[in-house]
Amino acid sequence: MKTKYLIIGNSVAGVYCIEAIREVDRKGRITVVSDENIINYSRPLISYYLGGRVTKEEMAFRDKEFYQENGVQLILNRKVAKLLVEEKKVELSGGEEIEFEKLLISCGGEPILPPIEGIEKVKEGLFTFTRLEEVDRLIDYIQANKIEEVTVLGAGLIGLKCTEGLLERGLRVNIIELADRILANTFDQEASLILENALSRKNCQVRKEDTIVRVEEKKGRINKVILRSGETLSTSLLVIAVGVRPSLGLVESTPIRCNRGVLVNDFMQTNIKNIYAAGDMTEAKDFLLQKKSVIAIWPTAARQGKIAGYNMAGKKKRYNGLFIMNSVELVGVPTISFGITNPPDPENFEILSRKNEEENYYRKIILKDNKIVGAIFMGKIERAGIFSGLIREKLDVSSFKDDLLSDDFGLLVLPAEYRKHMVKGEGFTE
């Protein structure tokens, strides 16, 4: 089979890539290969699905007609077994070959499984939390075994999102986190503490600076976890959520250059001219760090997929780099964070913050050379997006620094000329 555009992976990067290609090229054949058996779904919503807040149908971020309307051939439930760079073709599991002119690899990430003694013997009750089919199995397992208490290893975003879903299902959760606080990558001590306290008011216990060193099974099903601290927890469900890493299996034995992820230039192009990469597996320009990094978040994948699509279809468009940002609501506390939230060398930054623990309110702004490089919003997230704009615009904030934490912070505090440009202007363009 031959196709003009081949997209591996049918998540956000792939979908945005399709849209961008179609803006430029109405006709060229597009083929998408996905190893999942669903039209499409929003991966971050799996915690909502676990919590029963959305149905499987509601998880689709593009409807069925999308592929038809855009003339996309969708091959589901098939793995790409081999990528033959020279021959410009891939081999699907089962032997079928697809020749391509342009290729987008957007295979996403895969969960990291830490070495734990005894884990290889566990056949049941052990889960990761990144794919919908896993969640389906998790729900089945919970229901079939009338699970009431769950152990979650890792209090990063995935672990906590999973925890929230579990809590919403009425389960008790024990979290074990190696770091000295939860969400260590996203938040600082203060913010983490607020969330931790909010979690502890629910059916959730957090054990920090600890990890699982050994697991025990009973008839193949997980039965106990033994912590580094010596504590033993009986559990019949363990979710491992210590992080994800780019899925590089497909490119490993190819000349495509990788570091942590697949390295791409400003046009989302790998070192192989006709092969592009986007999404969680990609190491691309980082707006704040001015070097390449893997930013495994939805908006990055969307943007990168789009830019890749344009360039694949022949419209030169540059990726200006994004920065890490997250919007997470946990146990009723909405949070938004941008960029560098907890610099390891705080003496080189200016940090503004305001806190009201009773209201779960926390706001922190991180400045470097009078420019915002990071922010945390907790409890009240309205208008947080303005900060994403300020970071992107690299606006000097010295004239309104005092207002950054004020209650009525808005565009009004910005310099009049900048504000007028924003208000009168044509809206945001890259």
Partner: protein, 162 residues
């Protein structure tokens, strides 16, 4: 959708030097998005009052309102996890389907204008200006007593209500 009266791109421009801070734009936005479309009922009737699509900012003598800019490269679109935020093909407007929205606030995070609001009135959803796509003329523009909010077409030419 067949009930949409607008089929051309248009844009709202704010002229803060003429904003008198009356906030009538918000009042009429609420009315325009109420079920009854009747000002008294929208405010005093039993129906839950809609959230206005307008942010009003005021400090001293400076005030202005702001509603969704319907950006060309809308960051909210790329941030939306559910496809609830979408671009209307005919008008180029950024619209929001509340039924699909799960209230993840990704759009609030992404919007550099800070013009998307969380709405807790029924289920948790994002809420923003739809440029009154179902009316011939946006309510805020029509009712601004001082023409501080005006409507322009793609070329920037002002559109006045007949």
């Amino acid at each position: 959708m067949s009930d949409k009266k607008v089929n051309k791109p248009r844009r709202i421009i704010i002229r803060e030097e003429y904003c008198m801070g009356c906030r009538l734009c918000e009042v009429w936005c609420i009315v325009a998005h109420s079920k009854s479309k009747d000002i008294i009922k929208a405010y005093k009737g039993q129906e839950p009052r809609p959230v206005s699509g307008i942010y009003f900012e005021e400090r001293g003598a400076v005030s202005f309102t702001l509603q969704c800019r319907h950006c060309e490269d809308a960051p909210c679109l790329e941030a939306c996890l559910t496809g609830a935020m979408y671009r209307d093909k005919k008008t180029g407007m950024v619209l929001h389907n509340k039924d699909k929205c799960v209230g993840c606030w990704m759009c609030i995070m992404a919007c550099p204008y800070g013009v998307i609001k969380p709405d807790f009135k029924k289920k948790k959803v994002a809420s923003k200006c739809d440029l009154c796509i179902e009316l011939e003329f946006p309510a805020c523009v029509e009712h601004c007593p001082n023409e501080a909010i005006i409507l322009v077409d793609k070329e920037g030419e002002r559109i006045d209500k007949e």
